[in-house]
């Protein structure tokens, strides 16, 4: 589902082809068949950054949107898109509370707080400052490249 507030959306490569947030939810079973997922900007006004990961066999993917809502102004003060992988078979991954990144005084995403990272990674595209926070076990890393004017963060298993 794509919301009014969204600046980015997800796509997933499944055996049935590419699916996306336009007509699917990431908690649907078909999403768990994905071999690759991407989070991409919806429009040119959005932060021009892409998160991209191949999903190795034996790993489960999680997608979350973290919303920080200001009581006073009805504004979403901070919006973050989280992509996470963890080894193992999670029966209903859309319902797992994985947590989020803690923020430092400057609003920078700092350490991961939530489901421990045992064998996997957590990445958050912080739409309020355009940065990508990343924490992982030793066997994951990331690479950055420029693709059609967009910064692509590719998360890789070592």
């Amino acid at each position: 589902m794509i919301h009014e507030y969204d600046s980015h959306y997800w796509l997933a490569k499944t055996p049935a082809g590419w699916i996306s947030a336009e007509d699917h939810y990431s908690y649907e079973p078909i999403f768990q068949q994905a071999s690759r997922i991407r989070i991409e900007p919806l429009h040119l006004a959005a932060i021009q950054a892409v998160l991209d990961a191949a999903i190795p066999a034996g790993y489960t993917a999680f997608l979350r949107t973290d919303i920080h809502q200001d009581i006073e102004s009805n504004k979403i003060a901070r919006l973050g898109y989280i992509m996470a992988l963890e080894r193992g078979n999670w029966p209903d991954p859309g319902k797992v509370a994985i947590g989020g990144f803690a923020l430092d005084p400057g609003g920078q995403a700092a350490t991961w707080e939530g489901l421990p990272i045992k064998d996997g990674f957590r990445a958050e595209l912080c739409c309020w400052n355009g940065q990508v926070a990343f924490e992982s076990s030793p066997n994951f890393t990331f690479d950055t490249l420029l693709e059609d004017g967009r910064d692509v963060y590719k998360f890789l298993k070592r």
Binding site: D66, Q69, I71, R78, V96, A97, I98, A102
Partner: protein, 193 residues
């Protein structure tokens, strides 16, 4: 279709979306954002606003929620320029009950004088913490979902999704007369969609 922050008041309680309205602390059990029923400055001790009960509410029936938290932007400074003549938070503290619960307890007090103090009078709250001084982006307070579950949704109908949080403004003798600089309070939650 959205997630809002609701304030609950009255015996029922009645819930109303205060996102875009704001949260005003007054000596009456009401959500209205106006200058009526202000908290008087005490000559000794403290005066309190009626405690405010807030929670996350959703009418989106296709999402899964987790990890609701509350935090503030800290104690706000007086803006410069200050066209609204806001006053500093000197002598004033905004407290939050340490317990967030699914049980509602209507705020009580003496209208136009003082609300009853939260710890002494709320059925579930046993201690309070200074929200603006303690809970910031560095240290968010976990709120919990309705029923204490780890995730909630997709909902069958519009409903409160987080536990209730209880907030109370305390005014001391050193307070300045006037409207306090508005404080920023955030509710944070994760969505699977």
């Amino acid at each position: 279709m959205s997630v809002g922050i609701y304030r609950y008041y009255g015996a029922g309680p009645t819930g109303i979306d205060i996102t875009s309205v704001g949260l005003k602390h007054k000596t009456i059990d009401s959500y209205e954002f106006n200058a009526e029923h202000p908290i008087p400055k005490p000559s000794s001790g403290y005066k309190y606003g009626y405690w405010a009960t807030i929670a996350l509410y959703s009418d989106v029936l296709t999402e899964i929620y987790s990890d609701p938290k509350i935090y503030s932007g800290g104690v706000p400074a007086v803006p410069n320029p200050n066209p609204n003549n806001y006053v500093a938070w000197t002598g004033c503290n905004l407290y939050i009950g340490d317990e967030c619960t699914d049980a509602y307890d209507q705020a009580t007090g003496v209208q136009d004088d003082s609300g009853d103090e939260l710890v002494a009078n709320h059925d579930q709250v046993t201690a309070v913490t200074d929200l603006l001084a303690t809970y910031t982006s560095l240290n968010m307070k976990s709120v919990g979902l309705v029923g204490g579950v780890v995730s909630l949704g997709p909902l069958e109908s519009a409903a409160r999704i987080s536990k209730y949080c209880f907030l109370q403004l305390r005014v001391g003798t050193t307070a300045n007369a006037g409207s306090l600089v508005p404080a920023i309070i955030y509710m944070r939650y994760s969505v699977t969609s």
